[in-house]
Amino acid sequence: MKYFKLTAALAAATTLLLTGCAQEPSAVAPQSSTDQMQGTQAEDLRTNETWAKAAEHGMSAAFGELRNEGASTLELESVTDKTHGTVIEIHDTQGQGAEARMAQHEGALLIKPAEEVVLTPGGTHFMYMDLKTELVASQTSTLQLNFSDGSSAEVQFPIRNFSGANESYHGSPEEHADHEGH
């Protein structure tokens, strides 16, 4: 797995390089660029293996690896779904199995220099609170990651079927069982 330092010059190439195959790349596109030499928080972000769980309605979640290639801590304050307007929260999962409970992350999600935060089922993740539109398997959900310095990055989350990651669905009517249709 490779992470790539993203600069304006590299932006075009990133699409190809991030996954080495260019299909549904986890490309990061900084929305605001201030002084490029300094580098915004968005520009220091690398993402990898991003994906979101397919769901018709209700809640869902997005996962992946967020890495800080910069020299100062990234402070991810919020995540927005600009395309469809679904509210996205950053959640942590506490406990395991049937005891697993989810809670909103307190404050900004911090990513220290040269470190990464892995968003994973059963761990920290981005939560779609009440889907405004269906997350269809094989399509891609684009989320905007907003940092404390005002910069933001668009990240692609390819949508995949996933039967797990139900920790968050406690007390929710939808625990749709997926059927493979054998």
């Binding site: 195959c21 549904e24 994906w51 094989s138 390819p158 995949r160 079927n161």
Partner: protein, 407 residues
Amino acid sequence: MAAANVQPTRRVVLGGSAAAAIGGVFAGFGAGRATAAENGGAAPKATTAAHNPRFQPFHGKYQAGILTEPQAHAEFLGFNVHFEELARSEGIERIRSILKMLSTDAQRLMSGRGVLADTEPEMSHAASDLTVTVGVGQGLLDVLGYKSAFLGKLPAFAGEKLDARYGQSDLIIQCCAQDPTVLHHAVRALRKNLRGITEPAFAQSGFLHAAHPVLQGPGFRNLFGQLDGINNPTGEARELAVFGDAQEPSWIAGGTTLVLRRIEMNLDKWDEVDRAGRDFALGRRQSDGSPLSGTKPTDPVDLQAVDGLGLPAIAAHAHVARAKPETADEVLWRRGYNYHETQSSGLLFASYQRDPRSSFVPVQRRLAQVDALNEWITHAGSALYAILPGVAEGKYLGEELFSQNKQ
């Protein structure tokens, strides 16, 4: 087409090997030892890949799994896409997103990584020559606006008893590997990812010999015990038969077509046939695949040869006599697999050819009309697919189909 009309003008490359390649098309019935001849007598390398499993490249001019020497295990997955509730533009985008996802999945699986969101990525780690090959049926091409079908559907053939369960689907994914566990994981991962957006049509598993060498030459033992694929084209002749050339191209550059036929074998009835009867029906000897007109597997199928009594060595209705290509255009590359299920055994006949109308269809018409083997076989499944061109880095499978200019 009478033999007198045969004019294999096409393909200089076939000049040398055409005779050998033309020696027999179907079940096995041929002498792919053409390889040995082409290599100046060197031993055929047909099973080399099986000895040293590795990772097959995803990117290339052609998709992997076509010219690739057959791996030990295969699974053919058919899917139909839910278009009903979609507007046409949505249907097109649905196809695009599916092909993008399959491109990602295929590349990841073939390189030994799990797919995105894989719950068992460890199962994909072993090098096993996994290939994932994708094609589409005419139904899907219709949605994309390719109605002036190069492809269409296979015609009906006499004697077939088709089971709708093994019929035409919108999508075909051929998965092959030397290792059945790696293969299963790939199949499982692909099916999971397609859940909800497609309907599984069929999943047909096939096998050859284990990944260690069993045979010295090309081909495999089918469930009748016959050496199947002896006469398959090799090298450049294979590539030409599958992908065509500038003068006689396939439906799209770098693409080809796949015929998938499920041929049930009545093994219990076959048990009743003695060795001589079996060899007579096929036109080749079960022992070593040699034609009844010769003594070695590499000997040509000679329909003029006579035995000691002055009778034809190979009967006119023997399988090899009927299957023998009458033109260079009829040469196809058979890449079939044995199958065995609780109630049924036989051959998953899979052939790649640049144009089925000039190759598979006329050959199968002859066989359906008269073939001594028909007494023991029944064609139960039939489907035809346009196999997508290979994928360059940064592209996805079938990207060419989404341009504005429809053919």
